[in-house]
């Protein structure tokens, strides 16, 4: 199994989710995060004091998938999340040892 993590622009979340569901993905976990990268942040001003805020709001999706779906999942995410402008985000894939469904105790691909 693979653990796919992807940081994307928040307003792309719905689109990416839909695309993955169409592909047959049945579960994912989403976290609100702040990203730092090439996309520059923004300035804020409070009573004349200016702050440079380097972190940009992003959404992180975590997705555990069977090995054979890796390629398709990556392609799907890229397709749905790309806007072409800086800050579209990254996909990181790593190996996963075990997955287990708490409710039933199922293990492995069946637990996803």
């Amino acid at each position: 199994m693979k653990l796919v993590q992807t940081m994307i622009k928040p307003f792309k979340l719905d689109e990416v989710k839909e695309a993955l569901v169409e592909l047959g993905i049945q579960g994912m976990t989403v976290t609100e995060v702040k990203g730092f990268g090439r996309q520059k942040g923004h300035k804020e001003t409070y009573r004349g004091a200016e702050y440079q805020i380097d972190f940009v709001p992003k959404v992180k999706i975590e997705l555990v998938i069977p090995d054979d779906m890796e390629q398709r999942v990556i392609e799907t995410i890229v397709r749905a999340a790309r806007s072409g402008s800086i800050g579209d985000g990254k996909i990181f894939v790593s190996e996963l040892k075990t997955a287990l469904r708490i409710r039933t105790g199922e293990i492995g691909d069946g637990a996803l």
Binding site: F11, D14, H42, K43, E44, T45, Y46
Partner: protein
């Protein structure tokens, strides 16, 4: 940009300096003789109450309904309008609305910069002229602020300021004059106790034109855009309700029986509006909601406004129930029409205001006025004229103003700015850290 701002700032200063010596001296020769302290206390309080409706009331009511990236931008609409239109009113607006009538259409210029508006009693009341002026000022400010709900989350800030000034001077002041300042509608016998036409029809139908001209928000109808903070909206609702007592019962211009009657009708219609909307929503979609109750309260309040001083308590109850259900229907129906009146100014203030104007023609029975159901069929006709004339005038006028503003500074923020949100793109601020 900078030059324009500079220019505005300086002209204000210069103009003000000139008037300063003249007007401020002038204003003092009124005799405070016949001031009634009770009436004055009540209208001072009422003016403060209406301020409370605008800020923090309306600002938070609207602010809670938008997405969190736009809450400051939304609040800023109301806040800046309050400041700016108050000054416009003092310099020009009041005179245009309440100066000596010129041909039934507009007020004269004798009160420019509040020249001659002093502590002396305002004719026909027991309150100082200044108190009448400031009470009316609050109405002028809130009316423009109400419109902003229709183009929330996408209007450029410079466009907002320009629009507000033009709309207030060219639409609000004349309309107020027509109905309350000695103009043709008032002379015709049109009844609008506290602003069903002047405030609610005008903001509601102005809002309709704005929503149509500006177009939908990015993602409208596709992404969910739930209110980011409903307790904030409830807080706004409570403050609006509270302040509305000043708005409506204050319109009696004294602490008298008429104020009592308007106060009671206002409260009953608010409650009935809340129940009406809640029940209608419950029946249609299976659950009563907090936002529904709050919206119904506002609908009830907007609807009773023109008749607050003319309707008895049970008429108010009936009208309130109707208002809640009707405005709920209008808001549901909107989604089918496709225009994006973001915070439902049309469905609540437009529909509510018009309903109230007509209902006054039917149900008036208090304060020396009678409607159709109490034997005076002519009144209904007059009310229809009032309603329709206001709608036409406001819609045409708003359209022209928007076109002008679009040419001068452009109406909408860029799509990029819109997805970042108004808070950061227009104001370099975030609401929550």
């Amino acid at each position: 940009m900078k030059q324009i701002l500079c220019f505005f700032a300086w002209s204000a200063v210069v103009v003000a300096s000139v008037f300063c010596g003249v007007a401020d001296g002038w204003a003092q020769d009124g005799l405070p003789g016949a001031i009634d302290t009770g009436d004055t206390a009540w209208i001072l309080v009422s003016s403060a109450f209406v301020l409370c409706m605008v800020l923090p009331g309306l600002a938070l009511f609207y602010g809670g309904l938008v997405r969190s990236k736009n809450v400051l931008g939304t609040i800023m609409h109301t806040g800046s309008i309050l400041c700016l239109i108050s000054l416009v009113w003092v310099l020009v607006g009041y005179s245009l609305a309440f100066g000596t009538d010129v041909g039934g259409l507009i007020g004269g210029l004798e009160f420019l910069g509040l020249m001659g508006v002093g502590e002396e009693v305002y004719p026909g009341t027991g309150i100082p002229h200044l108190v009448f002026m400031v009470f009316q000022l609050m109405f002028a400010a809130i009316t423009v602020a109400l419109i902003t709900g229709s183009f929330a989350e996408r209007m450029k800030f410079t466009a907002l300021l320009l629009f507000a000034v033009l709309w207030s001077v060219c639409i609000y002041s004349p309309l107020a004059h027509w109905v309350w300042g000695g103009g043709w509608l008032g002379e015709m016998g049109a009844l609008d106790f506290a602003g069903g036409a002047v405030v609610h029809i005008s903001s509601g139908f102005g809002a309709l034109v704005c929503a149509m001209v500006l177009g939908q928000r990015k993602g409208h109808g596709v992404e969910p855009m739930p209110p980011h903070n409903l307790p904030m909206t409830v807080l706004g609702t409570g403050l609006l309700w509270f302040g509305w007592f000043g708005f409506n019962a204050g319109s009696a211009l004294g602490a008298n029986g008429g104020a009592a009657s308007a106060f009671v009708a206002t409260h009953i219609a608010a409650c009935a509006g809340g129940i009406g909307w809640m029940v209608a929503e419950w029946m249609r979609s299976g659950k009563p909601t907090v936002l529904g109750l709050a919206s119904g309260v506002i609908a009830g309040l907007a609807t009773i406004t023109p008749g607050a001083g003319f309707l008895g308590p049970l008429s108010a109850l009936l009208l309130g129930l109707l208002a809640g259900a009707l405005c709920y229907g209008a808001v549901v129906w909107k989604t089918k029409l496709g225009y994006d009146d973001s915070l439902d100014v049309v469905g609540i203030h437009g529909v509510g205001g018009f309903t109230g104007i007509v209902a006054t023609g039917l149900l008036a029975s208090v304060g020396g006025q009678t409607g159709l159901l109490f034997g005076n069929p002519g009144q209904l006709w007059i009310q229809l004229v009032l309603g329709v004339a206001s709608i036409v005038f406001v819609m045409v006028g708003t359209y022209i103003i928007l076109k002008i503003v679009d040419v001068v500074v452009g109406l909408r923020v860029t799509p990029e700015e819109e997805s970042v949100g108004l808070d950061l793109s227009q104001h370099n601020e975030r609401a929550y850290s």
